[in-house]
């Protein structure tokens, strides 16, 4: 058995190795800007919510209908009960069929659907219930360079508050990973209303557990955007489009560390915060 001192020495050596390859800037500056933007957005949101509430109360009071149509707002904000999941997906701007280099590998796609169902249930400690793998829709899946396999996945699940709430998730693995080895990366987007998440999302990450910038990739899901570019230092280039509203590409080390993604929405540039 190793002595305590030997273990502590090795801990110190490992810690020293990782910090030698880590720089505080520009990462800290970016985090400060991100925090400021979040605060501005939150404050604007609160102010806007106040205005909306005031307007709704005013209109309802004027029309005398505040208590006559209690479910109206809810009905309008959720997908139509008669819409199929497929049409809801397409209406939100996602492709109807799976895209990417693995799109035709039906066996792998079916395995991934099973993987997503079991993994998400496990990760939520059972609080999410995906009725069947058919509630899972693989928007795109494929290989990037010779190191990364990705998938963008939507699914509907029941939770404590809502039935059939839509979720959007990104999955990554090593090149040629079995579906069983794909891991969710970049969190889980879900809307309060249950609608499909359509907010732009940018994930720049690696598929391994010690950050190796030479294997970094970017995934951008923005169903309502027309184009996506990444800029870092002096470079600025378009990202590879996998499907309308979806861009997946490898990135350079500089882009991995400091890249900023800009979308074009209704012809205007919109900068999107990295996840």
């Amino acid at each position: 058995m190793k002595t305590e001192d030997e273990v502590v020495d090795r801990l110190q050596r490992l810690a020293g190795q990782v910090s030698e390859r880590s720089e505080p800037f520009p990462g800290v500056s970016t985090a400060i800007q991100r925090r400021r933007r979040r605060q501005i957005t939150r404050n604007s949101g609160i102010a806007l919510a106040g205005v909306v509430v005031a307007v709704v109360i005013g209109v309802e009071t004027l029309t005398g209908s505040a208590f006559e149509r209690p479910d109206q707002a809810t009905v309008m904000s959720t997908p139509s009960a008669t819409s199929t999941a497929q049409s809801v997906v397409e209406e939100a701007g996602y492709p109807g069929e799976t895209r990417g280099t693995l799109a035709q590998d039906k066996e792998w796609i079916a395995e991934l659907e099973r993987r997503v169902r079991s993994s998400e249930t496990e990760l939520s400690n059972g609080s999410l219930k995906i009725a069947s793998r058919h509630q899972v829709k693989v928007v795109a899946a494929g290989d990037l360079a010779d190191h990364t396999r990705y998938a963008v996945v939507l699914y509907q699940a029941d939770d404590r508050f809502r039935k059939n709430r839509w979720h959007r998730t990104f999955w990554l693995g090593q090149a040629d990973s079995a579906a069983e080895d794909m891991l969710r990366n970049g969190g889980d987007d879900r809307s309060r209303t249950g609608d499909l998440p359509v907010e732009p999302k940018v994930l720049i990450t690696t598929n391994d557990w010690i950050t190796d910038p030479s294997k970094a990739v970017v995934i951008v899901s923005a169903p309502q955007a027309e184009a996506a570019r990444i800029a870092s230092g002096g470079s600025d280039r378009p990202l590879a489009e996998i499907a309308p509203g979806l861009w997946v590409d490898t990135v350079t080390k500089d882009e991995y560390r400091t890249g900023e993604v800009t979308l074009t929405v209704d012809g205007a540039p919109v900068e999107v915060e990295r996840y």
Partner: protein, 166 residues
């Protein structure tokens, strides 16, 4: 010195130690950097008040909290060493020594809170009382976790070394 220059100097001086601790708790450099960046961004927003006191305890607590809660926020699953391929560690203009994968694997076998206790007690050399205060638990819990954590690390490292020699 103005606030920004003062803050920048503080960040530059404390960054290596903060990243080291966050890395040993999360066992992922990217996540560790994220945790420290977010903690420092929080500190920056209160820098006017904190700079005149000692900002170190506040920063330490923010980093430990972030390192322990990243799972809840990001919900990324850890990858077992069995299924992970050792990445080529590219270090820019120079190569550092080989990463100690045995130790990484041994660390990953500990629960996150136990890792945090081991880091605070043995790497940062904090007292049981300080560690308990940082983690919001009793000194008894710290004592027990430190002792069990170190024993687990020693056993895991001994086992991997013996395995490698066979």
């Amino acid at each position: 010195m103005d606030d920004d220059a003062d803050f920048r100097q503080f960040v530059t001086a404390r960054w290596p130690a903060l990243v080291q601790s966050a890395y040993l708790i999360t066992v992922d450099l990217g996540i560790a950097e994220d945790c420290v960046q977010e903690a420092l961004a929080r500190v920056h927003s209160r820098w006017g008040r904190l700079r005149n006191d000692n900002p170190e305890p506040y920063v330490r607590k923010a980093v430990v909290n972030a390192a322990l809660s990243w799972r809840r926020k990001r919900r990324i699953r850890e990858v077992s060493l069995d299924s992970a391929v050792h990445p080529a560690v590219e270090l820019g203009s120079h190569q550092l020594g080989e990463i100690d994968y045995q130790l990484v694997a041994a660390l990953r076998s500990l629960p996150p809170t136990m890792r945090a206790v081991v880091v605070l007690r043995y790497l940062e050399d904090r007292s049981e009382a300080e560690t308990a205060q940082l983690l919001g638990c009793s000194t008894g819990a710290v004592k027990s976790a430190a002792s069990r954590g170190m024993a687990k690390l020693r056993t895991a490292l001994a086992a991997t070394t013996e395995g490698a020699h066979r």
